[in-house]
């Protein structure tokens, strides 16, 4: 076939198949496309055919992978062969939509960043590109975040493992899987381990599904922060400091997170000592936290199995509980419209840690109840001393789960904590939140 005979317009529209090596030396690079695949001479073709670039392990892999990412065109696949790749700098994709990065499997393709150089960023993979997919590989030992994806719409992260192979350490990077300021994000069938902040962290993002993942030995297993619209379901989080966190922090672009559903997860034995650097917000999370909601609104927690978390199986607190300063008038530090129902909780609170643990232990009763609230409400929103129906909490039908209100509001006013097991203010069920719907995702 003679490409030169085709019109420029056709060439532009159909793109081309690359069977060629990516680097001039080329010895270690091939493509999976074979000679039988060729560009159709059909001038009416409108769908671009993509290039699949296969990167092999070896000293040229960094430059070859990066060049493939720089020169990619929409629809391309960058495929890593089986084996371990040693990278000395961040790999990045910027501004090219529709790219897929793929390995040969979570155990077979390892991108290792142990030797990353100073001044090269710290992340393993940095992405800013719409319709991005990454699947079937492991990223390990990044000085910073393993996979950071920002400002991107339609992101799929599937069957990825991120971890630090030496085990939990404050020297590990902050986040494993880290979409931030994105929209329409799917994270599924991933494994995240040993992050010094969160294994899976979704920040300042709209419309997310996090499902069928496992998070172990992180400070936070899965964290949904300042995010609007998240479904977090059928994940397993164990041996983290905190299993799942749903937080809103002050001072950020997307101010107040809301509308998160956490359901059908298994959160057990999240008792790992906290190894976050002091100063990081997760450094304040006490070891033994199953699920913690902080300052988020419209959170529905249901049908989870939460057990064996030694501080509390489930805690809901205001940002004021951190006793950190903030100066952000648009930030709402109070959790509202929290709905916790139909969960199974057991064997929690046996050795409660942190300030809450201290408060409760001083009361002379153990274990700490399954569901712990700090009892700090926004006085400006109260009607007759209670939250209005639109913001009221429902804590109902949680089987044998026990409850405590730590009465921190009184403590913040300089009085003693007013601990109470009265959950009467939270007794009305709320309407369910809507499911998150992502295009093309069942």
């Amino acid at each position: 076939m003679t490409l030169i005979l085709l019109s420029l317009g056709t060439l532009a529209s159909i793109g081309c198949r690359d069977h060629s090596p990516m680097a001039d030396s080329g010895a270690e690079v091939s493509t999976i496309a074979d000679a039988a695949e060729s560009v159709s001479p059909d001038a009416t073709a409108t769908i671009s055919e993509s290039i699949t670039s296969v990167i092999m392990p070896g000293p040229e892999a960094q430059a070859q992978a990066q060049e493939a990412l720089i020169t990619a065109e929409p629809g391309d696949v960058i495929e890593f062969a089986a084996g371990t790749f040693e990278f000395v700098g961040t790999l990045s994709l910027d501004g090219i939509a529709g790219i897929t990065i793929r390995g040969q499997g979570i155990d077979d393709t390892i991108l290792n960043f142990t030797g990353q150089r100073k001044g090269s960023g710290g992340e393993g993979l940095m992405v800013k590109a719409d319709r991005f997919t990454i699947e079937d590989l492991t990223i390990q030992n990044t000085p910073g975040d393993a996979i950071k994806i920002s400002d991107s719409n339609e992101v799929t992260i599937r069957r990825i493992r991120t971890w630090w192979s030496e085990g939990p350490s404050e020297q590990n990077g902050a986040y494993g899987i880290y979409p931030v300021m994105c929209s329409n994000v799917l994270i599924e069938h991933c494994v995240a381990e040993c992050a010094s902040d969160a294994g899976i962290y979704v920040g300042q993002t709209r419309q997310t599904i996090v499902r069928h993942n496992r998070a172990m030995r992180n400070v936070a297993g899965i964290e949904i922060e300042n995010t609007i619209g998240a479904d977090v379901y059928e994940n397993e989080a164990t041996n983290n400091t905190g299993g799942i966190l749903v937080f809103s922090l002050p001072g950020l672009q997307l101010k107040n997170g809301s509308h998160t559903r956490v359901f059908k997860n298994r959160l057990f034995d999240n008792n790992h000592p906290n190894f976050a650097h002091e100063g990081a917000m997760v450094a304040t999370v006490p070891a033994g936290t199953g699920l913690m909601i902080m300052a988020n609104d419209h959170v529905e927690v249901f049908e989870n199995d939460i057990h064996g978390n030694k501080t509390a199986n489930c805690a809901v607190v205001s940002f004021l509980a951190t006793q950190r300063k903030f100066d952000d008038p648009q930030y709402d530090p109070y959790p509202e419209a929290i709905h916790i129902h139909d969960n199974r909780m057991s064997d929690g609170g046996k050795d409660p840690q942190g300030v809450f643990g201290d408060i409760y232990k001083q009361a002379g009763k153990l274990p700490m109840p399954d569901i712990v609230v700090d009892g700090v409400l926004d006085p400006a929103k109260l009607v007759d001393g209670k939250l209005p129906d639109t913001l009221a909490w429902g804590i109902v039908n949680n089987g044998d789960a026990t409850f405590v209100n730590l009465g921190l509001a009184a403590m913040l006013q300089g009085k003693g904590a007013e601990i109470s097991d009265d959950s009467g203010d939270y007794a009305a069920a709320r309407d369910p939140l809507a499911a998150i719907v992502l295009s093309g995702v069942e």
């Binding site: 990066q66 961040t90 990044t142 001072g251």
Partner: protein, 405 residues
Amino acid sequence: MKMTATAKQNSSLQKLAFTATLAAVLVFGLLGCRQSVPVGDATGDGSSTSESIVAVDADPVPTNESRRTRRAKYLPRLSQYALFDGALANLEPAAGVLPYDVNTPLFSDYAAKHRVVRLPDGVTVAYQPTDVFDFPVGTVLAKTFYYPHDMTQPGQGRRLIETRIMLHQPTGWIGLPYLWNDEQTDAMLSLTGGAVEVKWKHRDGRDRRNTHLVPNFNDCKRCHENQKFEPIGPTAGNLNRDFDYTDGRENQLRRWAEIGLLTGLPDSTQVPRFAVWNDEATGDLNARARAWLDVNCAHCHSPIGPARNSGLHLHVGVAEPYRLGVYKTPVAAGRGTGGRLYDIVPGHPDASILMHRLETDHVGEMMPEIGRSLVDEEGVELIRQWIEAMEPAAVPATSPGSAGI
């Protein structure tokens, strides 16, 4: 000689070079995958660019090397831009090419920088007081990084490391890294960047070495791309300084206006002037520190920059202490907190995360994240003094302390 005259005299050559560049981009862009002759095989000077395009057009043999084609959208050699006269390493600006400098530069591991700009013939730039000038399509900015062999004796020669080209195309700006060859005869496009071992005698007389990292094509965007890719340095405030032209010392903006490049330049008293970070004569401590933070940090830490997720905004116009980091908790700092609680604790640099970020050279903790691997010792000292001198601001909403939950 006056730039005006030379710019006119050489406009045809200049136009040719630009046209060739543009043509290369357009032709290769349209051709998509069909060509196989990389421009990199051309011989090197500006005229050969057009020859190579002809060669490509005439090439009847498709080889399916679309990856090479994609790479070949860009000129492979610095010399092809025809920015310099004579031996390239002398960086002698060609006619119509203006050298310039900025008041406060980005710290880049002590590398020295040589900057030039070339505008298409016959166009002008409208003055604006705060934003980067809106340079027209066709503008080329070139910044060459080099190390003098001996910083105490600049006359002892230098080694050119890389030249970063910013090119304003019809589709927007792009940034391209060119790596100088060992012979110092030309610099070659290196889309994937590189690492160069450098050594020099430092200002204190000691020998220093470093691995100088040349950014890759995407790295360029990490600093230059806010909502769109654009230059960072050439603002009125940062250009408002004198420059030693071949025909005498003169204010850069005035010169630009005189030769007809810049329109609407107001009276000099109306033009902002960035402090020179290390020159006390140009501004007080606050002005110099803020200029340093603006140049080194604000390309990311702004409401539209890549680090906007942090909520920390360090551009020179920010007045709110909390936005600047005063008693602000970090978000995604990870171990970058250095074990500290707030970005800035007024009066206490050693309790401020900002200081740790600047003082460390650990990857994953250091700031800026890319572009440096050494600590800017003098810059860090400036920021230390600034935080030390800072009055405790209005105490924020919650009480001090951080006992945690």
